[in-house]
């Protein structure tokens, strides 16, 4: 059981860390000063959440520190969903990815809050407040861009089409998910789908965008299967600890 709980906790931690790292790439590159700070704040929130879940994972592991888990694992040992590792590309694309993921993350934590595992439940409650704000941020921007100019609309619609294939994995269930769900520790991801659809459809309607058709489903992130983007992200994020092991500030 412990191994599965560890794995389940790492999936959550990895989602936060990898998206946090992606968002940190916006620091000093935001479209405006205010937005730069907003994007960087979101990144910091995610790092904070990751730290909480890694601390718990480290405790369950009994051997590795939270830093070991973040900086000394390889690509295939990361269990985040592929959607969070996708490149930012541009502001609109970042907003689309975040909106799709924030909507899920909001529902995920809302549900994980009721976990029988006290630590996961506490971490979920704490994260939920921040994620509510993240969703508000990405949702309002998507509406602005979708219902903005012809050019901004066309760009975010294209991003929706590009990223849609990565949304399916949010709702998939594998052996570990099922076991955690049976123990009332984890949640049933597929139960989030209806609520997610509702948030997405309402927002897209308001943003005057079109929901993409379901097609190819990119899956496997939570089992260590990733896009080519994760390796580059890890190379940059882990460089210092790899080149100078145990380096401290």
């Amino acid at each position: 059981m412990d191994n599965e709980l560890l794995n389940y906790t790492l999936r959550i931690a990895d989602n936060s860390l990898i998206l946090g790292q992606r968002m940190s790439e916006w620091c000093s590159k935001g479209p405006t000063l205010e937005e730069d700070i907003a994007l960087s704040n979101i990144s910091l929130d995610l790092f904070g959440q990751a730290n909480g879940f890694y601390s718990y994972a480290s405790q369950l592991d009994g051997n590795k520190s939270p830093d070991d888990l973040a900086f000394l694992r390889n690509e295939r040992e990361f269990f985040n969903q592929q959607i969070v590792e996708l490149e930012n590309i541009d502001f609109g694309n970042t907003i689309v990815r975040n909106f799709l993921y924030d909507s899920y993350n909001f529902l995920f934590y809302s549900s994980l809050k009721n976990s029988k595992d006290d630590t996961l439940s506490a971490l979920a409650s704490k994260s939920l407040k921040e994620v509510k704000y993240h969703l508000r941020h990405s949702k309002n921007w998507l509406i602005r861009l979708g219902d903005g100019t012809e050019f901004s609309k066309q760009k975010v619609q294209q991003s929706l089409e590009d990223i849609w294939q990565y949304t399916h994995d949010m709702f998939s269930m594998d052996e570990i998910d099922n076991k955690m769900y049976k123990l009332n520790i984890g949640i049933n991801n597929s139960h989030l789908k209806d609520e997610w659809d509702k948030i997405i459809d309402e927002t897209l309607l308001e943003a005057k965008l079109v929901r993409p058709k379901d097609g190819y489903k990119a899956e496997g992130g939570k089992n260590g299967m990733h896009t080519e983007h994760l390796g580059f992200l890890l190379a940059e994020m882990q460089f210092l600890q790899r080149a100078y092991p145990n380096a401290k500030w």
């Binding site: 479209p31 405006t32 000063l33 205010e34 937005e35 700070i37 907003a38 704040n41 508000r136 941020h137 309002n140 602005r144």
Partner: protein, 94 residues
């Protein structure tokens, strides 16, 4: 994006019941973004419980050349200050 951005003045209330205080300004396209930007820039260190944003252009300010007419007459009216009363012992916040 930067050409048409409106400037908004930001007021933060630090605690329920206290007055909102002016803290600075932000750029934003609309009122929702103005509130969110104000939240990002001015409440990161737990400064606030409520935010007001007002378009800078909607604020009516007195002009500096009017300062004499506006403010000087109160200079020589000592009796407008409540300094002629003996304060009761123990009252600290008057």
């Amino acid at each position: 994006m930067s050409e048409n951005r409106t400037v908004w003045e930001v007021f933060i209330q630090s605690k329920n019941g206290l007055a909102h205080k002016h803290v600075g300004n932000v750029h934003a396209e609309d009122k929702i973004m103005a509130l969110e930007n104000a939240r990002e820039l001015y409440t990161r260190r737990n400064e606030g419980s409520c935010i007001w944003v007002v378009k800078s252009k909607d604020i009516i300010s007195s002009e500096s050349e009017d300062a004499e007419a506006f403010f000087d007459p109160s200079n020589d009216k000592m009796y407008r200050h409540p300094t002629f009363y003996t304060m009761p012992k123990g009252s600290k916040h008057i």
